[in-house]
């Protein structure tokens, strides 16, 4: 979706303002927000693509006014409600009022190290051979889906070069919506700065994205 998350090339946000010796957390609630988000995800009711889509589906004004942990928590409330784990009454009262759906699993403290060390690999075996090869000229499609996609707007309808053929990976555009993993080949595609930004682009700039096969057509 052409949502607030799709930031590449947007203007007006001001300087980056890196913080010297930045702590991992700026308030204790951020620690709990990280942990609650990971524990809730570990219930197995949604995948990473659905959670990303919940975040980018915040109203743009809300998204831009929120810190990243605030975005996480707001999206988490959406996911928990959608999957029947919390209700509006629960949230309004701040305690468990309504019954909850049954999770696939509950992450226990003793299992945390193993679960974090394992992660959630998204590569999948893929039956078809890759359509493109190293060095191929490709053009990204120009599309504007209302659902989740990982092709940023700045890189749509642009010509680039296949710089690497990666692996088969879960396709987020369907996986985010409960429509299956449908793995596709992923490619690293490099674009000249001028192809993306036109006149005035930094002549030394190359930008690459990682693109699922269906985002690309031969140039």
């Amino acid at each position: 979706m052409n949502g607030p998350q799709d930031l590449g090339g947007q203007m007006g946000f001001g300087p980056v303002a890196p913080e010297k010796d930045e702590p991992y957390f700026h308030a204790d609630w951020e620690r709990r927000a990280l942990g609650v988000t990971l524990c809730a995800g570990a219930m197995g009711a949604w995948n990473i693509d659905e959670s990303r889509h919940a975040r980018e589906s915040l109203h743009p004004a809300d998204y831009y006014a929120s810190s990243y942990y605030e975005i996480w928590i707001k999206a988490l409330e959406t996911l928990l409600k959608r999957h029947g784990f919390v209700s509006d009454s629960d949230l309004a009262t701040g305690k468990a009022v309504d019954p909850a759906a049954t999770p696939k699993r509950v992450l226990k403290a003793e299992n945390v190290p193993a679960v974090l060390a394992k992660g959630g690999p998204c590569d999948r075996p893929i039956a078809t051979s890759a359509r493109f090869k190293l060095g191929d000229l490709v053009r990204t499609k120009n599309f504007h889906p209302t659902g989740h996609t990982r092709l940023p707007r700045y890189a749509r309808g642009k010509q680039g070069v296949v710089e690497a053929v990666r692996d088969g990976f879960v396709f987020p555009d369907t996986n985010a919506h409960g429509q299956g993993e449908n793995p596709q080949w992923v490619y690293t595609v490099a674009f000249d700065g001028a192809e993306i930004w036109g006149d005035g682009a930094d002549p030394t700039l190359t930008v690459s994205i990682d693109a699922w096969e269906s985002y690309l057509e031969p140039a």
Binding site: D6, G94, A117
Partner: protein, 205 residues
């Protein structure tokens, strides 16, 4: 910075509405038996004390002193990094990109906050915020200036937008004057920002 959390006190409830909102959510989920609050403590402790940029610095230092390891890192970063014990969440599919005399690499996630947690830990706030995410792809030199890094006009800039599940680690160039240094001493020169591309490795003092 590690802290143990006492679930019986409500020190930040009255201070900040968002803190109260997070506490309420944690309370609801705990009462329903959906989460184990002590699991949260372990997660937080892991990312405050165990997984951070020191991991990535060891990878880089090893690549500087061991050409075979550097080659492995280039070819199969996930395995090469995994051999040092750094695996797992948000490091499942690693790529290492090497700075050279004429090319500087910079990593961003314009669409969210993808970041190689297994080697760099949790991302800093600026990495997740709109100014960096919007400008890194269109004005990388301007962004680098804000980090105090001015590159020669002739240096090629390669920006990697992490739009899929690959996670990128920049291997900065080894500073001059470090011949014969141990991996451990070299690792002290490798900053988090150097491994994102918003900095260079530190010069030896």
């Amino acid at each position: 910075m590690a802290m143990s959390h006492n679930h019986d006190h409500h020190h930040d409830n009255e201070l900040d509405p968002f803190a109260a909102r997070v506490r309420a959510l944690e309370t609801i989920l705990t009462q329903k038996g959906l989460i184990d609050p002590t699991a949260i403590d372990v997660i937080v402790d892991t990312y405050e004390t165990k997984i951070g940029p020191r991991n990535g610095a060891k990878v880089v230092a090893k690549a500087w002193v061991d050409a075979d390891y550097a080659e492995w890192l280039k070819r199969d970063a996930t395995a090469a990094i995994g051999s040092l014990g750094y695996t797992g969440r948000q490091g499942e599919h690693m790529q290492a990109v090497f700075n050279t005399a004429d090319t500087h690499n910079l990593v961003v996630c314009t669409l969210c906050s993808c970041y190689p947690w297994s080697v760099l830990g949790l991302p800093p706030v600026w990495y997740k915020a709109p100014p960096y995410r919007s400008r890194a792809v269109i004005d990388p030199r301007g962004v680098l200036e804000e980090f105090g890094l001015t590159l020669p006009r002739t240096t090629k800039i390669r920006v990697w937008d992490s739009t899929a599940e690959l996670r990128y680690l920049v291997v900065p160039m080894r500073p001059e004057g470090t011949e014969g240094w141990s991996e451990e001493r070299l690792a002290d020169l490798v900053t988090r920002d150097a491994m994102i591309g918003t900095g260079l490795a530190r010069e030896p003092a």
